[in-house]
Symmetry: D2
């Protein structure tokens, strides 16, 4: 199932928006835009600036102001890539906070601090707050009322992000937008929904397109992920009712799952009776909106789903993930470069010598190749298993980026208060599985009674809670 | 139909909230509150402060933080009036912006203005913005996720408003809350809905309770206001789905309505066929949420309703109000005190002398009495009519508060771009109608093609657009 | 709250129907009716008959046929009372089963019975079935597709019922209609819904209008009946989504309720927490559709509500009614006429003599008067209580109409498998309560484990299951 | 996209039903079935018969009776193929109309016809009607209240149909069931819905499975059929909300479509703006429920869709089909066998001789082959075109089965009042398209103003309305 991403507005959507917005402008009987060139050359930028100024000054009253904002949005949608960049640059350059006003307001506050009238000082504080709300945000926030206007702004940020990496001016526009979106998409405003095979086809199509962990191949693949012993939960926002924000796939199984291909097998012989499952496995979590990057929902999603499942299925005793280890192979390469065979314990060296016909500096990297076939050779696989699992435990628990775990997935779950339950050997035999982690996967455990303490220990001291099995691996 | 107001949480609602919120805290397994005394004495305030601090520091992670916020809310709900005031004072005093941090951040920005690195200066600007988001707002904003949490905050502001009038400290808390609510209740996030006799009884009950202009007397009164030739429209917010924000009652009639009792008559003989009406009369608009006072929706509501009606009924040619003149009688008294009989034209003096047996300083005030009966005496009524309508036109068009029309209803509609169409004699013969305006009412006209210009003329120059009839009255 | 009944179509509904149906005819481009006189004189009846014939012959195909049926319905709606009667007589007289065809079909079947080819005999049987479906039912059944067409037919039967009592010809039309409605309103097609204060006002208004047992006085009365410790359940049919078919009011209480005024008191001090109730009291059940009279739903409703409540509230242990005894006073009068003081036990005679200043032939009937005040006089009340409760028990258990209990409410519940739990003294002190049963009411008990046996015992042998308390009363 | 048909209940559905029904029986506390053998041998059949008898006699009251019916249904679901056949035979043999009762009732009626009391005769008529409702239908009708009970009965008929073809006993059971379903699925009770890409995936999956005309290959195929310029409409029944009854696919195009592959092309470059289309093409109509075979909906569906489209899109001027000609090739073969080259006109013979290297008895059949490639050779195609289109016109208009057109699709549309608009050459180049009709397709035209007359002319006299183009072809 091909993904066409979501970082750009499709032509179809744009058409829709353009028409929708045009009708809004019609209703308010405001038609300020003459046609502008698609690449928005300088003179057109000046005309646009006059429009924006009119809008910000509120000529004609609140209602007209919003109609003008719609018209500005419509102009943006009609531009090509070059024109859009020009438009964004215009916003970034000319519609930030008015710094001279800010400086004056600071002076007023400063004159009353710490000894002036506290009430008048607080008035000055309110002025500061007002001035710090940039004109461009005043403009963009008014797009909320347009049909799909919130989605438009999310997508505008998605378009802005790659540009902002190179242009610091755009970066601050992008940060302004992020802050506004973060307040709109506060997790308290999101709604958790369970998605089933009875959901709209258009929504399931999006889940397939946005899936970031285990690619959806075809519709029978989705159908299998929504079978009676599977669940999908997503957060939605009332202003984007047909767009998932973030979603997680769950399998209800007996015993903790140790292989993701088995979970995703569309030909699996048996659908589990949910009321007989004892374990919920979170095997994939994907952000659906590029334009909301950096605004975190994942921890809320997992915990709310744990609660929802625990309520519906009293029989569930264990809540755990089956997660990839995206950074293991890269880390291993680096360790090999630094320490070579020194990575191995003596006993391991001995065992491996008897089955390998090359040094581990050559043998190990092969395990991280797309087409890794070694695992089909019993002797070799047996010999590799011990050292690799031990090294993996070391990577997870000891490799750090500052105080945090180096592995991003590990960091995410540990921050959420999960613990490391176990490493699964040959758990993801897809090319991606080998490339990332020589086929291994991890179960992170979510146990309600420990979540707070785990989170605190990890956040404050970098301490990682782990199972006895992991401790044994580390002790060798 | 008795109104029990909405400025305080009813006992019933509170019960519900308390239970709802308690279960949220349960789910997150956070129980930080021991029981506190209902009046929240000093030592309990200290315990509460520690809770709040814990919540703001985010101990245990985001999810736990929200559970702690729920717990704080629960504590608030369990307090009596004295305790709540103590709670609010605590927030007002100790959880405002940290001014020393603010001063330092200003220094950093100042050091780079105007000549420092603009990018680093913008980072400092972002810091300022962050510091200016007060801890108390960080706390309160997290109530959004609780069941009815948004309604809770709206009601908290309603409770705070009378207290804030006397205590400047509380006033700034109230203003913080207002700003947060204003961004949540941005008109772009509101949904316009048409309300019919098929709406939930619980909702219609609220419309009756919140009605501010023409009191609802009983259910057949509501039913009549929702008959086939009547309409009611309201704005709703997705987080308060069962609470109207603001609503307007409309009558679809032939010709502009000139008497409100006729509109509200539950025994009226005939229901108009809507498809034969040529005029929509907006005869009442009420804000339903005391806690949203000062956040304006009315102009949006009227214009969106005009659009909705114009789309559904092509036959509607005129959109006008039938509005009260709340300030006329008070103004008249004042004019009488100042000018006495000098208020009258010569011709008027003559006519009145023949029918009045007392001077107008005594006669006019009687027309503004609850039980005014003069209008039943034909001769008298005839004689009064001319002078009073002329004085009313003068009041509307010439009495000012600064550049604005002195009458608040006139100011509202004129700001929205309406014009004054006509004065209706004996249009509201209720006690309230006489007390406010000697029984007169006004039609304000909403004509799409003039709205922008009217608004601009009025806003910038205080110019009031009026009909020929009004102009004639003024010219006498 | 005035009831305007539902046995006739209100003018409003008719307007709506007429318009709706007209548009159907438009769409199908069929306009066969010229205008007919409202009282449908003979020549117009002939024209109408031609229309009906055209419709039954299916000229122009199925779709046109239905359009023609709509047109016939429209004609009916446009008639006045006289015309409608003429219309119904036309249907009754000329559109029954074609008896000559029936006779021929019987001959064909007869010729093969018992010895002919069984398969050809079954074909003849199918022919019989077809012929027995009368043309008038073929016509009327096609009204199902019209907007509110099913409700129209229900109301047509309601109009027909009083006429049919006098005219045997109309009676068979009415029976035909009843049979058709009975198959459409089969209980398997009905949906049980719980009705709350959030239900549409228009629906609650209907509940008030149709209430047959304890009249609804005003909206606060309804609101009280829908408070947190009250429930209302109704059956609905998909083709009449806004019309209840039958509904029952339930109170969730502690201990079996013994007074209906207490249940209905809109000023009662305390709303019971439903989760603390142990008993569900069914205190009123009303049929909402006159036109469905004789099609039974009540037993299904009660049992499905028992199941629904038992599922939602594990704490409920007892399901019982608080029911009127509509026939007691009439029976008592008759007994007094027959036996006079012989009705009393010796001990009773003695006690009564000491407090009564008149013979019971005069004293007892006063207890059955609207304005009965005797119960306020303690001595008298005490003395009356014993004999009246005993006689009431006798009435319920021993007064028979054939094998069935004479009291219709008793018969209804006993047929459903309930038992008689107890008699409540001064349980309904309304005028109606005294008129029917000297203020007494009954609790019938629904106990799942006994329902089948109770039903069988009562249905087959007329045996009535009763509590120990009732048995004691009978034994005296 | 593989179709797994719908003529048998899938294992999954059965599981669901069994559980659902079991819980119904639980609720009513009725457990009458001991376990029976899956193949239902004679002794188990006797036990089942006793259950059925108990149910029909109504032991324990109405509610219990329905619980017993549920139990019988559960037994049926637990049987294997052999057992089900035994079950159906039991119903067919022992639960038909009681013929001795019928004979007696006839005697009573006969005795009063034609000269007896007409009212008593009508009572006897009602008795006849009652007796003619067979016990088996009384039993089966009670399944309506079970979860998915109506779908169960539809599927039971689907299972019964192939068996009934061989066993006359079962045939009458099947006919009974058909009659009951026909009254439940009366078109007046069906709801027309528009289906879009936002419909539940589970529903779209069913559309793909049930598609009878142009097989759905994959999901992008469905998505294309639901693009902005495509429509799908289906009838639904309230008791089977997730099951389409019959559905039609429509394309909104400019000009009458002449090629179905173009319509179905998932890679087509352009989606038509619906508001610019002038023609609606019905290119496929499929019955979704095998068990409703013989109950006609198609004509209603097409006409209601024509109305719905005409209302939404004023721009649509033409409503036509693009239909297959399933019988043409078979008819052509037969004609060749009878007349050989005599089928051709002189001019045709001449032209064909110059391009064909074989006699038409050999050449023509090749055009009706799966892999027909001749159409890619220009000369040949040109030469063939004239004769084949002429013969096709002859087939459509002159080949008859009795008074009806021999082609079933032609008969369906002509009965509905459509006319033959034109023949399209190379309009369906799929293997099936060649096999059926040498690649030709027909447009049938639905023109509101002619539908009634066309229907009447065709139904009464077999007269076919056709366009000038068709007439020209026939005149040659």
């Amino acid at each position: 199932m091909e993904s066409n991403g979501n970082s750009t507005l499709s032509h179809r959507t744009m058409e829709y928006l353009r028409r929708g917005w045009s009708s809004i402008a019609d209703v308010a009987r405001v038609h300020i835009t003459g046609s502008v060139r698609e690449d928005l050359p300088e003179q057109d930028r000046q005309r646009l600036a006059r429009q924006i100024d009119g809008c910000l000054q509120g000529i004609g009253g609140d209602v007209s102001q919003r109609a003008r904002a719609a018209d500005v949005g419509r102009t943006y949608l009609a531009l090509n890539e070059v024109g859009r960049r020009h438009f964004l640059e215009l916003l970034a350059r000319d519609y930030g906070v008015r710094e001279d006003e800010l400086a004056l307001a600071m002076d007023r506050w400063r004159a009353m601090f710490p000894d002036g009238d506290p009430n008048r000082r607080r008035e000055a504080e309110a002025d500061l707050r007002k001035i710090l709300r940039s004109p461009r945000i005043q403009l963009l926030s008014q797009f909320n009322a347009l049909p799909d206007g919130v989605k438009f702004l999310v997508d505008m940020r998605a378009e802005l992000m790659p540009l902002a990496r190179e242009d610091p001016g755009l970066k601050f526009l992008e940060q302004d937008l992020k802050q506004m979106l973060a307040s709109w998409f506060d997790v308290g405003f999101l709604e958790l929904k369970s998605i089933t095979w009875d959901a709209p086809a258009s929504l399931l199509e999006k889940l397939a397109q946005y899936e970031a962990v285990h690619a959806v191949r075809h519709w029978s693949d989705i159908k299998n992920r929504l079978a009676a012993d599977r669940r999908c939960y997503a957060f939605f926002h009332h202003q984007m009712p047909n767009e998932p924000i973030i979603y997680v796939w769950v399998a209800l199984v007996k015993g903790v799952a140790d292989n993701v291909q088995a979970l995703l097998d569309t030909k699996r012989s048996q659908v589990q009776e949910p009321s007989e499952a004892d374990t919920a496995i979170f095997y994939s979590i994907s952000n659906a909106q590029v334009g909301l990057k950096g605004i975190s929902f994942g921890n809320f999603l997992i915990k709310r789903v744990v609660n929802a499942l625990a309520k519906d299925f009293k029989n569930l005793k264990t809540f755990a993930t089956l997660s990839p280890i995206p950074g293991f192979c890269a880390w291993l390469q680096q360790q090999l470069a630094e320490d070579g065979a020194g990575l191995l314990l003596k006993s391991e060296t001995k065992t491996l010598q008897s089955v390998l016909d090359e040094p581990i500096e050559q043998a190990f990297p092969k395990m991280c190749q797309d087409q890794a076939q070694w695992y089909r050779r019993t002797g070799k696989e047996d010999a590799m298993r011990g050292p690799l699992m031990r090294l993996c435990a070391r990577y997870l628990c000891e490799a750090k980026r500052g105080p945090a775990a180096a592995d991003p997935v590990a960091h995410f779950h540990l921050s959420n208060g999960a613990s490391i339950k176990g490493i699964n050997w040959l758990a993801d035999t897809s090319p991606k599985g080998f490339r990332q982690s020589a086929g291994m996967m991890i179960n992170y455990l979510y146990k309600s009674s420990n979540i707070e303490k785990n989170h605190e220990d990890y956040s404050s001291e970098g301490k990682i809670r782990k199972s006895g099995a992991i401790k044994s691996l580390l002790k060798q």
